[in-house]
Amino acid sequence: MNETRDDRIRESIEEIEPAAGAKERMLENIRRKAAAQNAEPESRITQVNTTAPHAGEAKNRRKNNRRIVILRNVVLAAACVALALFGAVKLLPGKPDAPVIGTDVITAGGTLVLPEEAANVTYATEDTDYTKVSFDYKGWKCELYVSESADALPEFGKESEPSEFDAKNDATYCELPGAGGKYKLTWKLSGKTCVLLGPGGMGTETIRELYQKIY
């Protein structure tokens, strides 16, 4: 992604300026609208309580109420079935966000081994395009994306100029200023593209140590 173009889109929107006095005018309208909305339900209740319904109206209302009850029960039953199905799918092995036992992770295109220190490992495969592995390494929350094709990986937002990290595996390092100062390490591993994201505070030594332990 080209930084100039990214900036142009943002800057062009930032050029939009509300009309003079719009701030105060809108604030006044917001208060007025909110006050009117808060007052509305009460006045409706008062109207219903003080107006006696005709017999025909009462009958229609009972009929409508019965319909509402039936509809509500149907919706509840459908929601229960949907929840049961959802729960079953989530608990099946190999499905997204399944907890991982051990350090082997099956990814899009093969198996990958995480360091022994990796804790709370979960993974999810996105449309078979890539696998996202989340884990803690020495208390740092990290994410590893693995894909057979670099094009299939998600966008991670604005990136700083990448620098070489390890020439052997085409590993490059950059920072993601838009993602709260995260770092991004990209490299090739057995034909797969790996992207490691983690908090910038981890420090290069820990990142390198983690990088060397993933195979």
Binding site: I13, I16, A22, K23, M26, I30, A34, E126, P154, E155
Partner: protein, 181 residues
Amino acid sequence: MSETALRTDADFEAFYERHWKYVYRLCYTYMRSEADAEDCTEDVFVKVLTGAPEFQDETHERKWLTITAINLCKDRLKSYGRRNVDSLDDENAPEIAAANAEAEPEEALALESEYAEVRQAVMDLPPKLKDVIWLYYFDGYSTDEIAAMLERPSSTVRNQMRDARNLLRDRLKTDFGSEIT
């Protein structure tokens, strides 16, 4: 951080002060008219006052406002049947800040015209593509975060991002040429 609600007038005013311009710009990008943008902005903040949502932090506030404003604008556009509005009337255009006041007049004019062209191209995108472009370029979210916010599959968001970029490239090729890939 613990959850906070906007309990007093002063809380709400501070909240409004923090976000009003952002919400206005977002609404204007969708509604393309000053009056509608103001109306939608007001309605977003009315929802804050009447719904009394509790926010964890400023990021949470911004996310809530973004999604609420996007949904509100889209609903409004549907009800207006205005999805095919082609161009922005001059009388409805908001004030556009002078581009880079420190630049030479000619440079400033060129920059201003470039901004206007980019802004118009973004505003002309279909709403579902505008969502991802706004969240990605203006708010700096990743495609995975956008997918979670908009409750769309990641692959859909990536495809929409590609479609939006293609539309922008087609529209802006004269000025941006190879920059958009």
